[in-house]
Amino acid sequence: MSGDETGGPSAEADVKREAIRAGAVLAGIAAVEDIDRFAPPGHRPGDILRGARSVVVTAGGQPTRGSWHPGSARPQASVGYNRSIAGNSAYRVAHYVEDRFGYRAMPCPSGQVAGHYPYASLKLMAEMAGLGTRSMAGGVILNETYGLLYFGAALTTMPLQADGPLATPVCPDQACIRQWEKKGTTPCLEACPTCLSGQLEDGRIGWMEYRQDLCFPRAQTTAMDSFQKLLLAAMAESDEERRKMIVCGSHFTRAVRSLAYSAELSAQCFECLRRCPVGRRRRHELK
């Protein structure tokens, strides 16, 4: 689908441009067979859209550069991540592929299928679409220009030329390699030793381990899990006054607000990436 006899833009360029028009900052294309090499049965594109052959991955909704300069940690966690932009652009792309090219398409559900498990890994899709590479900071995908990004995806039966994974890893940055050589740590490992551990080898990630279970209360402090746990605590509390303190207290109030309005939901707590040098230039070029 990449050739175009009329000399017009290729289907791939056309689809990506539509993603950008819909608000994404970047878009890339992954081949389903590349994703299937890593994704387990039940969590593959073809499990979500039968016959899926390509995935158009959209990126956006990242913190503004100013959001990295808050007066305290909480405001960034409240506004740092807009989960609708990448998803909306993927939705638009899915319709566009159907209307313009006549292939089936559907947005990949971005939520969890059950508990903490997603329908499919958007990180893996982004990686296979060449939008960035895994990082020491919990495996989030870092993009050379933007640093941290969030992703949406449109699955389609349309065969598209895939961008494929990047040949050169974005993480670790040169500054992190120097820090590793001097001090045996990196900014992200230093920031969050509870959740993160790992090793650089020859200037590359040797291994990285991420404790998602320990990250959850910090990254999702007032999100769904917090609500469920406080609800259970309140139900188990026999003393009416103490029950009131749980349900009317500030933490439960924020958790309830998270359910009603996502401003209290965060993608992560940002501390592991606050000193990450990837994307630093963009963040510092504004006054």
Partner: protein, 90 residues
């Protein structure tokens, strides 16, 4: 519609399930890096996929003490400490 499972069933398998999941994620470039799916956990333990899913979902919530949620804001503000983004100090 998923059925809640019995506390007995949950207690029997809880500690076996979490280490199999994505609760701890390891990444080594070029290596497979993922926890087991509910279907794979079920096969490992000899239970149905639906039972494995229920055990995992409850265990994910139960494994973290509620105190960690209360302490999280304090940790983040302390960690934040006015750091300049992207300045590694390295």
């Amino acid at each position: 519609m998923p059925q809640p499972i019995s506390a007995d069933l949950y207690n029997r398998y809880r500690d076996l399930v979490l280490p199999l999941t994505n609760a701890t994620q390891r990444y080594e470039p070029g290596m497979p890096h993922r926890g087991l799916t509910d279907a794979e956990i079920a096969a490992e333990l000899g239970v149905t996929e639906a039972v494995a899913r229920e055990i995992r979902c409850v265990a994910e919530l139960e494994s973290v003490d509620i105190a960690c949620y209360f302490e999280a804001d304090g940790w983040k503000e302390a960690r934040f400490g006015g750091a300049e983004p992207g300045e590694t100090g390295g």
